[in-house]
């Protein structure tokens, strides 16, 4: 079968994540125009897009790898770097900017030594920025591990992230 043959070498034969990606591509009929959808599925399954998953998508949708790479790097939503255990996305939309998002980023750098777009050296925390969550009523807003929190101060944010990291230790 084509999909089996194109499975990248080194991928675990029964890794359910490849199956997720495969199912998403099948759902869209492996159409070339479903490239962005497939990359969404790949990023959801693996957390980021590596060369293996991009090659896999390229082979399955019969599009050149160069195009897959071009699309993956064009859109901000896709990331080619692995993410930390926890993520903190700071909204840098206009409302959040006016209400102090730059201060939040500065305090994250100060406390965790991570700048926007980077992951801490121990792989615990990734700091990202987003253009706007559409939660402007709650500015400044951040998304910590998928949950939006709003009306944050620098101290409040640092405390929240500490809490989040502790939670990870308690619940293995």
């Amino acid at each position: 079968m084509q999909t089996e043959a194109n499975k990248p070498a080194g991928a675990p034969p029964n890794d359910p994540r490849w199956k997720l990606l495969d199912a998403a591509m099948r759902r869209n009929g492996r159409k070339q125009n479903a490239l962005i959808e497939s990359l969404h599925a790949a990023q959801e399954a693996f957390g980021f897009l590596d060369e293996d998953s991009m090659r896999y998508v390229a082979a399955n949708l019969r599009v050149p790898l160069s195009k897959v790479y071009g699309v993956a790097t064009f859109y901000h939503f896709f990331t080619l770097k692995p993410q930390g255990e926890h993520s903190c996305v700071v909204c840098t939309g206009t409302a959040c900017y006016i209400k102090g998002a730059p201060n939040l980023l500065a305090s994250l750098e100060e406390h965790f030594g991570v700048t926007a777009g980077e992951t801490s050296k121990d792989g615990k925390l990734s700091v990202l920025t987003a253009r706007c969550f559409g939660c402007c009523g709650l500015a400044p807003a951040v998304v910590i591990d998928g949950d939006v929190s709003g009306k944050l101060t620098s101290a409040g944010l640092v405390e929240k992230i500490h809490e989040c990291m502790k939670g990870e230790v308690a619940v293995p």
Binding site: I36, Y75, H76, F77, T94, I98, C132, C136, G137, A139
Partner: protein
Amino acid sequence: MNPEELRKIAITQKESNAQYKHQICVCTAAGCVSSGADKVKDALNAGVKKLGLESTVQVKGVGCMGPCSAGPLVRVKVRVESEGEILYKEVTPENATEILASLDTGKKIDKLEYNTDVPFFTRQKKVVLENAGYVDPDSFVDYIGHDGYEAMIKAYTEMAPQDVIEEVIKSGLRGRGGGGYPTGLKWSTVAKARGTRKFVICNADEGDPGAFMDRAVAESDPYRLLEGMAIAAYAIGADTGYIYLRAEYPLAVKRLRAAIRQAERHQTLGNGICGTTFNFRVEIRLGAGAFVCGEETALIASIEGNRGQPRPRPPYPAASGLWGFPTLINNVETLANIPYIVREGGDAYGSIGTEKSKGTKVFALAGKVENTGLIEVPMGTLLKEIIFDIGGGIPDGGKFKAVQTGGPSGGCIPDQFLDMPVDYESLAKAGSIMGSGGMIVMDDTSSMVDIAKFFMEFCMTESCGKCVPCRVGTVQMHNLLEKIANNEATEDDLALLQELCDMVKNTSLCGLGQTAPNPVVSTLRYFRDEYESRLVRKGDNGSKPQPEEVKA
């Protein structure tokens, strides 16, 4: 399901709603959910179960009620003696018992009450958001119970496609995504265009930072959007529609996906809609975070699975769009207006608003203003009414400095325009644009050079890189603004900045580049002194002026 069956559902649903003695609506739009609305709803449900009130009290999740900063919001409808509604703000799960206990006595809980007899509520007029805050976004039958799909049934059974377009033309509706192009004209162009297939695209790639109107519609009333698309498809003769939705709005994605499934099951989408011979399918395409994809040709490229880069127009998408077929592209708010126009008639809609800007407009009010959230007002409402009456003015005794409309493509409007009516023409005259409806209020702690730099950085990173003026020009402009902000620029730099504004505006390929200089131009026009005070004067021997206190 034919129209008769749908009407039957509507009656049953209305009856079953009326059965309950009390109704508690919990806002489950993204703003309130992030303040913990889900937990409040769970606590209320648990309380109802514990007290055995299932037959008298209905707990319902609804869409956005407006004042997002006061969330989680809960609206209680008491039918004890007189019908009354009470809005509670900042409700916690612990308040659930208290709220349930208050139902039978009919007494308000004073400490939680949010007074709705204030301009924030009384000055609004809801058309697009008429169901938001009342209808359960996850329930097809509840939408039907709120007269949903009545407009679609009317269009499909009583009107010819041309009649629908006539009504839209009569309504005077203009595109709500920014350009303000007359919607009826666009529809008739696509209807007349020749093609073996036609497409409807809903632009829900709300990329403007500080705008969340489309998210609110998609989250609060997803069926309305589908109904608007289905009517548009009928009018122009399209068989497939795409909703190009931001991946950053997971709740909207989830609700729209569920709504499409439900609508297909009830045959208000798919083959043979409502017993007619008309077919229309809708698919969701997720954006991936590129502002330029709000531009229609870039959006089409993105749906086709390519990089979101625009192409020169003409040919316009109305003639050659998605895969070369005639394509209608409307934004979420535009399409959400359609059911009202078809149901009430184009004239009724046209009676709202000003002569050239008809209807209502949804604004996302944010920034340094007391009441932040979502509002819908008739076109032509004065700017000061929006900011000081509805918005409640500047918090902490601050002084109003400017309001930014239109996002990175718009401009900053200073206080001398507070008496201006808000419509397409007036905003353009003041050097800004309507845009999609973000309104960000700034007080005197905001530095205008900083704001201009902020937007230029945005445009610089969002430039797709296809045309030189935008790709290179925005970088150069950003460098110059950075120089000014750091008190290192000279008068020559300022002159160069102005020259670049002109060049980028006039030579860029698409709307992104053409409007990228707007924030700089408008702040230069009204706040030139802020720029000049940061320049290094000739003959200063390079000694820098003391940096001002800069606060973002």
